[in-house]
């Protein structure tokens, strides 16, 4: 079974440009999360989808960030326009809630390293 997949693995863009990150969760996982780690600090929560609905977007830093999960499958996170402080590693995770083995555990992708110059 494929794990959580993120594209691209690394993106280098200039300030003011637009970047779109993609996350493919584990098949069957209704819950999808975005996190980011900026400048070696703590990993911070950005938002949480349940299927195609935004359950919690309290961690989104500002309106330059837009996340979508059309159809409840893969998700995209767009940064427009990118600023220098957006540089960091963006992680995606997915989970299935409930009872049983493997439930209530967030499985992470390898992350997208974003460099804004």
């Amino acid at each position: 079974e494929a794990g959580v997949t993120q594209f691209p693995s690394h993106s280098v863009i200039e300030k003011g440009q637009t970047v779109t990150l993609r996350c493919d969760p584990i098949s069957g996982h209704d819950n999808l999360y975005w996190y980011r780690r900026v400048m070696g600090k703590e990993i911070k929560f950005l938002l949480h989808f349940v299927k195609e609905s935004k359950q919690d977007e309290s961690g989104m830093p500002n309106n330059r960030f837009l996340a979508e999960r059309t159809g409840g499958t893969y998700s995209t996170l767009k940064v427009q326009p990118a600023e220098l402080e957006d540089s960091g590693v963006y992680f995606c995770a997915s989970s299935q809630e409930g009872q049983g083995v493997g439930k209530n555990i967030q499985y992470f992708g390898a992350g997208t390293r974003l460099s804004v110059l």
């Binding site: 996190y35 600090k41 349940v50 992680f91 995770a93 989970s95 555990i105 967030q106 499985y107 992470f108």
Partner: protein
Amino acid sequence: AQTVTQSQPEMSVQEAETVTLSCTYDTSESDYYLFWYKQPPSRQMILVIRQEAYKQQNATENRFSVNFQKAAKSFSLKISDSQLGDAAMYFCAYRSNLISGSARQLTFGSGTQLTVLP
């Protein structure tokens, strides 16, 4: 709001020896999960071990075990018989077990970089 603290930015251990990584947390909730994740240089974050707060028994996974002290809000990770492949950044994380969907986010500590010396 919950907080997670890892007071050891870096640790090292000799191969085959035992090392303990510290983690403390703060919460007013009684039902929650605690996790240890590892992130090797390849960057894929992998779950190491999970502890459910209502379980008194400490979780174990092969060479990895935890010392969960609920009253003290402490959740340390012990790695026995350390191997070169254990070298990674280790993150402690907290997750509420409230029914509310907004409670499912993970709160992470700042991480501990573990070096394993041959």
